[in-house]
């Protein structure tokens, strides 16, 4: 009864709240008004239902949040653990997955392959931002600036000097690192939320400069006719070019995953995590704060810049409209929703966030509103993201009395 009353009140409140914007549409030129009463009903009913859902999850959250999770492995669903343990299931599954990925361009149309390539560009971007946001805990809202640097460096170097994809890729990586250090150096002394705004400002400055400095960047009309990558001296046709691009992308993504995972468990990776958890305590342990942060920032920029080159090669056209704040927000939501810090999570996040809207074209216009709502809901109900990041754990076992050697056995958590 109490619940019913609350939900009715919520429904009434939201009907009041959304009344002018949802119901009335004014045409100021013709001076006519359109009343859309059915929207009011829609808001009322959905607010009523959603308030029940909200309350249910709130109760669950409070119950679950009370006791700290002692064993994160216990959270993994049963079937996942069985699959990972049992090699007879795991290996065939992995083989099937590899086969599927490898033969994807031949199983599906060019259109699908193209979408897959852009999803993989976002995997790269997500993994790059994951270093900055997920591992080092620096909220970077202008990540798209480095993406733009990469894309424009390929477009411009190709236009003026005729440099090819394979030359520009490492060059742009270096350039990205350089720009990352350059931008990072002055701002990294700032505290978390200031950093967010300054990086956002930088992102916008770069976009505005690209838009207004017409002599250098061709302004809002952009640069067209950027070539796809070739292989040694071979130039591909349109179809083969896309297929080749797909495999290049797979190679790049694998390379990214390799580097990012190695980094995460390295000395610098542990320093990032420590810095994220507590800056002052971390400094007290003798970690150079500025250098460590700068490293994260620059490495993230490197990856974004490389992804930018791939993007320019894939679309064969760049203009400033591709590098808006919304792009940064999408990359950020990939990291946040996928699971901050978790490599697998970020990959899943990118795949879901990029592929889902592509395959649900009918709902394309609702994409951003769903993004926004999901970001809020994830923060409230599942702050760890889709896939929780697991710290690799080293356990000390009690010394076995029967063992002759006094070694302390070290086990490594298999899920690391």
């Amino acid at each position: 009864m109490q619940d019913l009353k609350k939900s009715l009140l919520t429904a009434a409140w939201f009907m009041f709240l959304t009344f002018p914007i949802m119901v009335i549409r004014v045409d100021t030129i013709e001076n006519t008004i359109e009343w859309r009463w059915h929207n009011l009903l829609l808001v009322g009913v959905s607010a009523f239902v959603l308030s029940y859902v909200w309350r249910y999850f709130m109760v669950r959250r409070e119950r679950g949040g009370g006791k700290p999770q002692t064993d994160p492995a216990a959270q993994t669903p049963e079937w996942v653990r069985i699959v990972i343990r049992d090699k007879r299931i795991l290996y065939p599954l992995l083989a099937a997955f590899t086969g599927f990925v490898a033969s994807f361009p031949f199983l599906f149309s060019m259109y699908q392959t193209n979408i897959m390539i852009s999803a993989m560009v976002f995997v790269m971007l997500g993994l790059g931002l994951n270093i900055v946001v997920g591992l080092a805990g620096l909220l970077d809202l202008g990540f798209v600036a480095f993406y733009a640097v990469g894309a424009y460096s390929y477009a411009l170097l190709n236009e003026h000097f005729g440099l090819g994809f394979w030359v520009v890729l490492p060059l742009s990586a270096i350039l990205g690192t350089f720009v990352g250090v350059l931008l990072g150096f002055p701002v990294l002394r700032l505290r978390g939320d200031y950093l967010a705004i300054v990086t956002l400002g930088f992102g916008e400055i770069i976009r505005l400069v690209l838009e207004n400095w017409g002599a250098f960047t061709h302004g809002p009309s952009g640069i067209a006719n950027i070539p796809r990558p070739g292989f040694l001296w071979i130039e591909f046709g349109l179809k083969d070019g896309i297929i080749f691009m797909y495999y290049v992308m797979i190679g790049l993504v694998l390379f990214t995953i390799l580097v990012v995972t190695r980094l995460k468990y390295s000395r610098i990776g542990r320093a990032w995590l420590a810095l994220r958890e507590d800056e002052i305590a971390c400094q007290a342990m003798g970690i150079d704060k500025t250098r460590t942060k700068l490293m994260a920032f620059a490495l993230g920029a490197t990856w974004a810049s490389m992804a930018g080159v791939v993007f320019a090669a894939k679309t064969s056209f760049v203009n400033p409209a591709s590098f808006t704040f919304m792009e940064s927000a999408i990359i950020l939501s990939i990291v946040v929703l996928g699971g901050m810090g978790s490599t697998l999570g970020v990959i899943c996040g990118a795949m879901i966030l990029i592929l889902l809207p592509e395959y649900m074209r009918a709902f394309a216009e609702y994409r951003m509103i769903v993004f926004g709502a999901t970001m809020v809901l994830f923060m409230v109900f599942r702050p760890q993201g889709l896939i929780r990041d697991r710290r690799r754990r080293h356990k000390f076992r009690k010394r076995d009395d029967t063992a002759t050697s006094g070694d302390v056995a070290k086990t490594v958590d298999a899920h690391g």
Partner: protein
């Protein structure tokens, strides 16, 4: 000289609007240490509500003055209601969470609200009716200041004076100051912190709505995206003056307004937004606590 005066007064107008929005940022930041990213959207919703209400009233054939007098309070009420609701949904459950969480939630809320207005209304720019009346005695000064600019400056000054008095002299104002100094201590001496936080959001949103209606009426067009850039600039103003400080936000707004006005007037109008961002970056690098802000120590 006349050009200088025009730029000066233009900057003053701009600056007072920035200041009105910046107050919302700074008050919220002062109390719960959160950059309320959705604040720019509140301002946009205020302007949109005003557009809709004034449109309805205009078709009913009411005269200009009464439209303004009815539209402004309704826009303020709606914006405050949005601010209140947003805090309840997106920020209140995240109290005590790591600092990144509410910030991301705020960004999500901002994206949500933008697209909510985009879908429910339109993506195009809509012409906004000139609600502010033309004053006959301002005609002689048309070269340097329009009457709507005069309205904006005067209203903003009055509202800010009212806010200062509210914070200084009322019981609620005292509770706000106490909460911003130390939340737990305020709770111990009997301040209802939840109410104070809600009130902060309501007041901040009301100020943003006033700013939104005034500037929309002055500029003459709005769309769903105006909140984003205005929000960032107002935040710049808040940081400029020292975030968390109420007089700082007012001063910061004016400084930002003048900077933009003179820079676009004397340097180049293409890079209007770049100046604001560059100023923000410079301030944060050289004086992160802002003009009137206090240096804060950090503890483990």
């Amino acid at each position: 000289m006349e050009y200088f005066l025009e730029l000066f007064l233009g900057g003053l107008t701009r600056g007072s609007i920035y200041a009105l929005i910046a107050l919302g940022y700074t008050m919220v930041y002062g109390i719960i240490k959160l950059i309320n990213f959705a604040h720019g959207e509140i301002y946009m919703i205020g302007a949109f509500t005003a557009l809709i209400i004034s449109g309805v009233l205009a078709t009913m054939g009411l005269p200009g003055w009464s439209i303004l007098l009815m539209t402004l309070p309704i826009a303020v009420i709606y914006s405050s209601a949005y601010g209140f609701t947003i805090e309840k949904i997106a920020y209140r459950p995240l109290r005590g969470a790591p600092r990144l969480s509410p910030l991301i939630s705020a960004i999500g809320m901002s994206i949500f609200l933008q697209n909510y207005v985009l879908l429910a209304q339109t993506a195009d720019f809509l012409p906004f009716p000139a609600l502010l009346p033309e004053l006959p005695f301002m005609e002689g000064y048309a070269g340097i200041m329009s009457s709507s600019e005069l309205f904006i400056v005067l209203t903003a000054a009055a509202v800010m004076a009212g806010l200062t008095a509210f914070i200084k002299f009322t019981r609620m104002g005292k509770a706000m100051r106490a909460t911003s100094q130390n939340q737990r201590m305020a709770m111990l001496v009997g301040v209802n912190v939840d109410n104070v936080i809600s009130m902060t959001f309501i007041i901040g949103s009301a100020l943003a709505a006033i700013g939104g209606v005034l500037i929309a009426s002055h500029v003459g067009q709005i769309n769903f995206y105006i909140g984003f850039i205005a929000g960032i600039k107002a935040f710049t103003a808040a940081v400029l003056g020292g975030i968390g400080s109420v007089p700082g936000a007012m001063l910061g707004g004016l400084v930002l307004g003048w900077t933009e006005s003179f820079a676009t007037g004397y340097v180049s109008s293409d890079y209007e937004d770049v100046f604001a961002f560059a100023l923000l970056v410079l301030i944060l690098i050289f004086r992160p606590s802002g003009i009137l802000g206090k240096e804060e120590g950090h503890k483990v």
